[in-house]
Structures are given as C-alpha cells and as structure tokens.
Symmetry: C2
Subunit: 401 residues, 2 copies
Amino acid sequence: MPQADTARFLRDLHELRRIGAFKTGVHRPTYSPQDMESRRWLMERMREAGLEPTIDGIGNVFGRHSGAGPHILSGSHIESQNEAGWLDGALGVVGALAIARAGLPVDVCAFADEEGHFEGGFLGSRSIIGELDDAEIDRSRNRTDGTPLRDALAAAGLAGLPRMQIDPSRYKGFFEMHIEQGTQLERAGLRIGVVTGIVAIWQFRLVVEGQQDHAGGTTMAERRDAGLTAVRLLAAIDAEFPRICGERSTWTAGRIAVEPGAPSIIPGKAEVLFQFRDISVETLRRMEATLRALVQESNRRERCATTLQVISRSTPALSDARLMGALDAAAEAHAPGAWQRMPSGAGHDAQYIAKQVPAVMLFVPSIGGVSHHWSENTTDEDLATGAQVLVDGAARFLAGA
Amino acid sequence: MPQADTARFLRDLHELRRIGAFKTGVHRPTYSPQDMESRRWLMERMREAGLEPTIDGIGNVFGRHSGAGPHILSGSHIESQNEAGWLDGALGVVGALAIARAGLPVDVCAFADEEGHFEGGFLGSRSIIGELDDAEIDRSRNRTDGTPLRDALAAAGLAGLPRMQIDPSRYKGFFEMHIEQGTQLERAGLRIGVVTGIVAIWQFRLVVEGQQDHAGGTTMAERRDAGLTAVRLLAAIDAEFPRICGERSTWTAGRIAVEPGAPSIIPGKAEVLFQFRDISVETLRRMEATLRALVQESNRRERCATTLQVISRSTPALSDARLMGALDAAAEAHAPGAWQRMPSGAGHDAQYIAKQVPAVMLFVPSIGGVSHHWSENTTDEDLATGAQVLVDGAARFLAGA
C-alpha cells in the first residue's frame, strides 16, 4: 500500500503558511499578490510531484496526472479569509499533493475563491463544473472594496485565459480534506471525521405584523405586540423542534429585530431570520412542516399575524458510500477507535464537485473549534494522521475501483 | 352651582386650533412663533375671564385670580408635538379657562414644553415647583435641531424674565383635564375617566452574554445562543407576570436585539429593553422581584449569563382622594353610569404639580386612541361633557373645602 510522506506533507504545509503570513495565520484574499504567489508555489510543487500544472481564467490551479487511470480528483482552495487561519483550504490542497507524492493517479486542484471574497462565492468549483457563466463574472464585485471581478482577474494576470471544465468520466471519486471548524471531534477525543455529506440549509423569514402603540396608554388586553408574538413563536419552536429533528439537525434564529425598537413603544413589527440544517431531505421536510404548523397555531392564537417566507432551500451533498467506506477503513487503520462519521455543517468545494463526481470529505480536529481567525490551528500530529488516512483511503478506494 | 359655558368653551378650543393649524391638527413646537402666538392668545382670554396674565422666563403663562380664596390651580400645556393633535394639552388649558369663566377662584396655567421638544422635558411644570435649575437650562438643547434652550428663549423674547414658582399654600387642589390617548373609555362606551394617578415606569436593560459561533459547525448541544436565552426569558416573563401583576399593570419589551444579527451566525449577545408600569409601588416591587427571580432561574438553567440593569424607577403620582371624589360626583351628574376611575399610563404636568398640591386629572375619550398625530380627535359632545364635569367637580370640591 502507498504511504503518505507525512514529514514532507508537514514541510509543504508550513512552507505555504509563510506566504501572506499574518500572526500565526495567513492573509491571502482571492487574487491578491499573496494569493497569486501561493498559486505559483503550488504549480511548482505539482511539477515536483510529476503533475502537469496549469492555471485557468478563474484562477483554478490544476495539476494533471499524466499516467494511466483510473483517476481520482482531490483538492480544496488556497486563498484564505482576511487575516485568517493557515489550514482552512490549504490543508485540502497540500493533502491532495500528498496523494500525488505517494504515487497514486490523482489530479490535484486548488479551486478559486471558495471563501467568497467576490459576490457569488465558490467561483472555482462552480466554474470547473460549468455552473458559472460569463454574465455572472461580469457582474460580480469584491464584497470588501467593490472591485469588479473582471478588474481583479486582469490585475492578477488571468484575463483572457480559458476556463477549464472537468471531464467527470475521468474520475472515480473526489477527496477533500479539511479542518472541522467545530469542536465535535475535539470534545469526543477523536482525530478523524469521515464526512457523510454537506448539510442543506433551509432559510426562512418570519414577519409578524402587530400594532405600534404607546406602552403607557395601551392595556395588556388591547395590545397587538409583534415582538411578544415572535417571542412566543420562537419559544414554541425551541420546545417542539427537539422532538422532530434529526440527530445532527441544527436550527438558528440568527436575527431577531423589532420595530421601532424604542423602550416605551409596543413593537408594531417583528422580523426573524430562521434557518435549519440537516443532511436528510426527509428531516428537512419534517422540520419545515413543523415550522409551518407552529406558525399556523400562532396565527390561530395570537392577535398578530405571522407570515413565513422561504428565502432559500439548498440540497444536501451526500458523500458516496464506497468513498466513505474506504476512508472508514483507513481511519480505523491509522486512528483505531478514534474516528467517527459526521456531517459537515459548513459549505465546501466538494458540494459542487459532488454534482458530477462521487465525493467524500475528511475532517481533522480544530483546536477549540476556532475558524475564520488567524489563531485557527490543528496539532501537527493530527495533521499527519489526517494525511495518512487520506492517502491510505485513496489507495484503498483505487484498489477496489 | 356654577355651570360650564360649553359653547364658549368649544369656541375657545376651536379658535386656539387655528393657531399653527396643520391638516386637522396643529404644529406648535415649544417657543416657535406659533407657540408664542398661542401663549399671547391665551393671555388675552385670561384677561377677558378676569385673570391677571403674566408670562415667565421659561414661557409659563399664568393667569392669577385677583379675588378671595380658597383657590384652586388648573391647567396643562399649550405647545404640541410636531404636526400633532389639537387637543393634547390645549384641552386642559381651555378647560381651566372654563373654570375661570364660570366664576370660580382659579389660577390658570399653561406649562411650557411638557412635550419635551427640549432635553429634560416638563420644563414649565418642573420650573414652577422649583425643580429646574439654571445649569440645566444652560445645557438643554432642542432634540430635533440642536438649538440651545437659551437661544430659543431669547428668540421667543423670554430671556431675562424671572421664572415664577407657585406658593403651594395658596391652593386647595390642582385639576388637569386631558384626552385619554388610549382606547379604554371608547371600548367601554364611557365618556369620562377620573384619573387615580399617573403610573410609575420602572425600566430595565437585560443583557445576555453567549458565544458567537457558526450556525453550521456548532451542534445544538455545544451552542451558547444568547438570542435563544433571551427568548426563553421573555417567554417566562410572559407566562409569569399575569399571575403577579396588578389589575392595570403593563409590561413591555420595546427593544429586542441580537448581535451580530446575521442569518448563519449564532447570536453571541442579546439586549432587551424591558419596562413595566403601575400606580402601586407595592405592585411595582412585586413585578421587579418576579423579574429578578426569573433572571436568576434563567442563570441557573441556561448556558448564557443574563444580567439585569436598572435604567430608571420613577414614583407614581397618586391623585388626591377628595379631588377624585368631587370629580366622581360631577361625572355621575353629567354622565351617569358612563364614567370610571382609571390610571394614566402616560406622564403629564400633574405629576410634578402633585408634589406640592393635591392633584387630580380628568380624561375624555380619544377617538380610536390616536395620539401624537394630527388626526387625534374627540367629539364635541364628549369635550363639552368633560368641561361640565371639570367645572362642576371644581365647584363641588371648593364647596367642601
């Protein structure tokens, strides 16, 4: 069985960490000089590993394996959030490089702008599966400074380059290694998570219409307090959802606002942004049905009318069973009893690649769950174990393919 | 018994309504040309009614009865909120004039800036009882345009005039007639409210400290959602307060806010502005004790800590029993079975005058409860009945004094 060269893997990671270094993290926003330097660095490493590197018109860096198949695809993103961690994205790119260095038939890719510095987000993985059109590129701007995407591409020397698309028939599977960005592994004392899929997010807006009135002159019996109706509805959701949710479901009221929001005025309007996430469409449907029933019940009982608006419903990206099985076996070999299957609550490039190629993700622990901050970290030991499991899992999968 | 000249009373009211007319309401902000015109108009009416009018250094217009006592004091304010109603304040001033026109020994006063166009508010009634010092006048500015109060007084021709104070020993009682600014009378089909007092307002800030986290990567078991803790606490208040409150207590969460307020971020902080009002200090104390117990219970149960900060606790201004008795009798005479005792949920000049002179207020219905808006209104019939009850009540009180 091919083995990961974990010393080399860690050396690659720490070398990449020096590009755009910020405190103990990195600052490599998409298409910045630091980001482009990291892409050139990656192309050099690909060449060393025997791959044929190219960069395309959206900034995707692609290292093609020149030998015989069957092939796998692996990668992640290389740019970072502003002043953020050194592993988010970089880990999956360097992990893919470790598969190649182990001599396995893999194409390695660093997808551009997974982090969404530009409007739209996931530009690279969407482009490579043909889900990004030129009109969107024409429209998109940098979310921080408003720079048009076209100008940023030109400044980075990418204008005019063709955008590549993958040929799905070339690949048996896609592997993406990533930090967990949560504390589930750490809390459970585990070292590897085999990702069952990327949860779908269903987002809603609850709008409650009441009657704005003076808090002194209006008796409790007369009031139509939109804030209070929202509170009662959210309390009912809090009581009911645990009874109908899935094992790993989450639900969040991220925004609760009342108008006008003054101390002596009864709120005439309330707005709540509510979302839930799960990997099972059946569970998501049950949660929505429960939410609708609770809104109906509120509208029967309350003097304020609540309307439920759907903002978006995404589709879960389920991992491939055979890919998970290969990673399970590799995890048990390198971290016996210290791994689990788990869903990913956050979005990743894998959710787009999974539309065309069977995909799986591998998580390593995040110290303290810190994410999107320069202090993000994982122990070298956990990183090395992750690389071993990734390479071994890829080898087992190819052996069975 | 002296009787109110209700035709004259209504003529006075409608004449005053023309000064600063705005749609069917008025626009007479404090010290504006329209406000000063209304004060000069009032001094003329006082003279007609046999009173000796003066205006003082804060804009209080005072009409002194020159005959023998015992005397009563009556009045309200004459300025309006911006583009607001024709009766709020004006009714109590013209009602006091009606007492004088009926030949009763009354001093009539229009207190300046009850509406709080300038910082501090209640400038006239606070000045006349000696609770407004020059340093506050030096500091105060217009809340809308920032004009210093001193400049506004100078522009209105009031700079340098002495500020008068009442001699409490001169008065047996104070009467203030006002629109209800609510719908309790209208809904109950009543025409007169004898005000038992002006409720106190106890105001609090609830701050919940949680942990801001990604809504995808953090399981329900790991979260410290400050918004959810606030929702549970507010739901507990909603369940518990009806069991311990007084008959007319009100409580309001006028502001509910979570930070950062984004759809995919678990709120790390929540802030609630919460207040309750009642006329009984005993009830207010019971409500505060219950609130504190619920916060304690929340802190025992929840993973987010809630702190309770006191913003302010005012003192209720209770009406005088003999003054209420006189108005009860007058109300029963002129609106048999169509009156009730009730507290005032809003603040009025009477709450300051009550600190030195036994006081009472009389409410007439507000159509639809509209207040602080140009469409505010009361039927002429209800206004006339109010004037009759006011004059009759004053006469009955003086007869027993």
